[in-house]
Symmetry: C2
Subunit: 318 residues, 2 copies
Amino acid sequence: MPLDLPTIRAAHDRIRPHIRRTPVLASAALDAACGGRLFFKCENLQEVGAFKARGATNAVFSLSDAEAAHGVATHSSGNHAAALARAARLRGIPAYIVMPSNSPKSKVRNVEAYGGRITFCEPTQQAREETCARIVAQTGATMIHPFTDERVMAGQGSAVLELLEDVPDLDLVLCPVGGGGLLAGTALAGKAVRPALQVFAVEPAEAGDAARSFSAGHIVPLEHTSTVADGLRTTIGAPNFAIMRRHVDGVLTVSEAGIVAAMRTLWEQLHVVVEASGAVPYAAITEQRLDVTGRRAGLILTGGNVDLDALPWLGPAR
Amino acid sequence: MPLDLPTIRAAHDRIRPHIRRTPVLASAALDAACGGRLFFKCENLQEVGAFKARGATNAVFSLSDAEAAHGVATHSSGNHAAALARAARLRGIPAYIVMPSNSPKSKVRNVEAYGGRITFCEPTQQAREETCARIVAQTGATMIHPFTDERVMAGQGSAVLELLEDVPDLDLVLCPVGGGGLLAGTALAGKAVRPALQVFAVEPAEAGDAARSFSAGHIVPLEHTSTVADGLRTTIGAPNFAIMRRHVDGVLTVSEAGIVAAMRTLWEQLHVVVEASGAVPYAAITEQRLDVTGRRAGLILTGGNVDLDALPWLGPAR
């Protein structure tokens, strides 16, 4: 199936009964501070607290009954795992989740709460992939990759469709980039609905692989990342990078201090809980990585799963 | 003007261009924990971060041009002050705000940001009232009391109208009570639209004047209150109490620990920033002050203005 607007619209129709229509928030104070108009698409208020519910739900409900009967599998320590477990439970099929043995307890509990069947592995990329491949071989489950899977990308693209329904005359969209699933769906859907729309990817400079890769014209993985935006430490996927090269207008990077300050400002001004990764697009505005004066910008607040005992502006957890 | 459903509907029409239609959130996890269905009306996402925007805006836009020209005045250290300053600015008139000299800086900045003209006074009720009376005498401004003013009560009642539009078949509503402005509007509007609706007031046991007064049949002020829910320390107003006696089904009280735990749970599960006062209704459910098994309950999340350096579950501010 080609990854195009009809596919993304079909994904949206497929998942609509199972996800939330998230609100778009705005703030006169934040607008005044930047000189533009900002529209925040609140995927932190989505099911499982993240846009990941969209892609995982589309993937699970795209399966034939015969495929679905064997379940789905993935390796993830984050929101995709919870989202896949939830979607599988909605369809009444098993979800096999491979998690690194050092995953935070809150993430493990989250997956368990949705009935995911967890297998722990060594915390290396190789161990994750091998363990997942073994489970797929044993069970016949369908592997649902967190960001290279086209069904996942199509589902993630539904967020910008809703945003453009609510705010049709956007000039640009700012989207965080980690593996690039949300970015691919956003760029494809956004540009198809509104060709004049500019789409910018934003990432922490500390995990600046997408910016480097965009400049180099090929993927340049980073050896070490240490950003507070834990959802964006991943290297961009190959299909995601190909879409980014064709459809994204630029890649912006932001500082760690900028991310923490942006996160805090969003909590104070919008009164929502946004995780550090979700605050990255707003940091691009506060750090003046692009000029939004007189322009209308959409920002995707990607998630709201935060350890409330370890807020980054308060220093180390007590 | 009588405080009845047509008046409250007229208030809603009057303020609609100036306030937000706030979303109603729900959570499968919170529903499972209590055995009922919970619908959270997110007034923490309202303009100025609190339902107070409704009442203050209705009061300001109810004035004749001749009255309005002299401005409005109030004494308040909280969200009503910011809401009144904002509404006055929208109408292009002055707002004279009397604040105790020990008000938190963040509250002072908030009022200043909306262009309020602040006069500081000694932190006693007498000094507040006298200072405000002097300003009214000097300027001819209209005094807008934070909760006994009928225009304010009518505006606050618009929140439950929206909630019942979104969730028509509610069995009950839980509403925090401090001065009783929101409670009066909620009870009058809620029962008028849906006579079968039960309306419960909830307050901290540490500021349990409404519960005591409800039992006694007359207002019993407390000498000392020390609750974390700083918006609910006020003693209920006389007209508010009269409405409560006629239209409210019961008054529930909750513990300090229950409020803090409820606040934290709402942040984690709904991904919104709710102030302690706004978490009080949910504490009534977690502390099993009433049984919601199989019932559909609306809860008004009244505000989201929180000192992010002093979260109550983290102990004293660092």
